[in-house]
Structures are given as structure tokens and as C-alpha cells.
Symmetry: C2
Subunit: 144 residues, 2 copies
């Protein structure tokens, strides 16, 4: 699962990493929001609670979570920033390259291809990036 705030902090602790207030706040944001945030959006939001927070700590924590497979790195959504997904359950994302938002697709047809991919390729998998991109309904009306 790993999609909750507690799951993320537990993962960090079990990996021998220290639980600082900054990391806990970052994990809470990742676990409780479904906004697929970027490093900068996390920084801006957590910064209001912890004014001393630096961007470097956000990058540091995100890298740790991605390296542990607890968070997926979805990549850019038209902006040039990496969007992260605290929900590592198999699912599809859609990104609007105009307003740079990413949503989950309410579709049950998605199966867990993790085992299949690992078996076929011999890779030791860490995460997935299943994302379709285009223009959301709102942006189709305005810009296009």
C-alpha cells in the first residue's frame, strides 16, 4: 500500500533513516494529498509550517523515498518539474500538459504488471510511471 503518511515514515525509519520533523511533514503531504506534487510545490506548502525548511531537504527526502520505492516519480506534466505520486498501488495517471495537473484515472482494468515485467526482463523494479498526457476538458475549451 504505502499510500499513507504513516506508511511513508515507517518506510524511512525501517531503512535506517532519521525521522526529522521536516521529513514527517513531507511524508504527510505526500500521503494525504492526491495532487501529485512537485518538489517545489511540496516546498511551498510545507514551508508555511516550517519556515526554515529548505528546498534541499525536500529533494533529499524525495530521493530517499523514490530510492526506497515508496513514492513513484511520474515525470514532467508539461512543466519541467518532476511530479511525484505517494500512491504506489497499480493505477493510471493522466496529466494535462496545459495546466500541469495530474489526476488518477478511475479505471479498474489496470492490473499489476510489476511481476510480469520483472519476470520478463530480469529487472529489480523500484517503481512505475503509468501516465497518459494531453489536454484536460477545461484546457480544451480555453486554449484549444
Amino acid at each position: 500500500m504505502n499510500s499513507t503518511s504513516e506508511g511513508l515514515t515507517t518506510t524511512l525509519k525501517q531503512a535506517g533513516l532519521r525521522l526529522t520533523p521536516q521529513r514527517i511533514a513531507i511524508c504527510r503531504l505526500l500521503g494525504e494529498s492526491h495532487t501529485h506534487p512537485t518538489a517545489d510545490s511540496i516546498y511551498l506548502e510545507v514551508h508555511t509550517q516550517y519556515p526554515s525548511l529548505s528546498r534541499m531537504t525536500v529533494y533529499n527526502t524525495l530521493r530517499a523515498l523514490v530510492d526506497l520505492g515508496a513514492v513513484n516519480a511520474l515525470g514532467s506534466a508539461g512543466d519541467d518539474a518532476i511530479h511525484y505520486d505517494g500512491n504506489t498501488d497499480p493505477h493510471i495517471n493522466v496529466a494535462c500538459i496545459s495546466c500541469h495537473r495530474i489526476e488518477d484515472v478511475p479505471a479498474r482494468q489496470v492490473v499489476d504488471l510489476n511481476a510480469l515485467v520483472a519476470r520478463e526482463t530480469g529487472f529489480k523494479l523500484l517503481g512505475a510511471r503509468v501516465l497518459y498526457y494531453g489536454f484536460c476538458p477545461a484546457c480544451q475549451k480555453s486554449t484549444h
Copy 2:
């Protein structure tokens, strides 16, 4: 389909864009290699044939092809460079975040979720990014 060199150049022409030798060479590389190249690797390779080629033209052409949906932007593979895929048929990619290579997964189970995603979300889709990342067999032995 759009996975051949001719398909890509035809797409550019039909969109009203001019067919310069540089663009043709870039399309040939994208269509005929299965290496999921980055802007820079395309530049380095095509540059040997067209020494006057600039990176800007590569970025320019890639952006046009992505905007036309003829090429998929897969995102980073552990390096911080965007990898592109000239093959837009539904398939799975695996990226090694250690050696930064991306391969296709020989799996037939992948269905075309494009229509499903478009119907469920109302998005006008342009491309897809279906990629699993981790460590390839070779890199598991060496670094890990």
C-alpha cells in the same frame, strides 16, 4: 503506427512543417533505432553526419513531434534527461536507473488503454508514458 522514419516525416509535412535535412535525419534516427534516445544522444549521433547541426534544432524537432503525438516523451531514466520513444504503439518500457537504458518489454498483455482513459476522463490525449524503472540484470551484479 508512426514508428517508421517515413511515418514521422509524413506527420511533420502534413502538419505544415518544413522537411529540412536535419529534421529528416532526426526522424530517421527516431524511427530506426530502438534506443529511446535523449535530445543530447540524438544531437551527438546526427551531428556526425551534419556537423553544423545545433542542439536547438533537435529540441525544436522533438517538441514538434511530441506535440503532434508522433513521439512519446518517456521522461528521465535516472539521468536527468528526457528519453523519447518513436514507437507510439501500446507497449511497456523498462528503464535502468543505473545505466540509464530503456528497453521494450516483450509482453503481449498490454492493451490499448488510450480509448478507455480518454472516455473516463474527457482528456484529449497526445501520448503515453508506460514505464517501469529499477535495476537491469547487469547493474544488479555490479553496483548492487
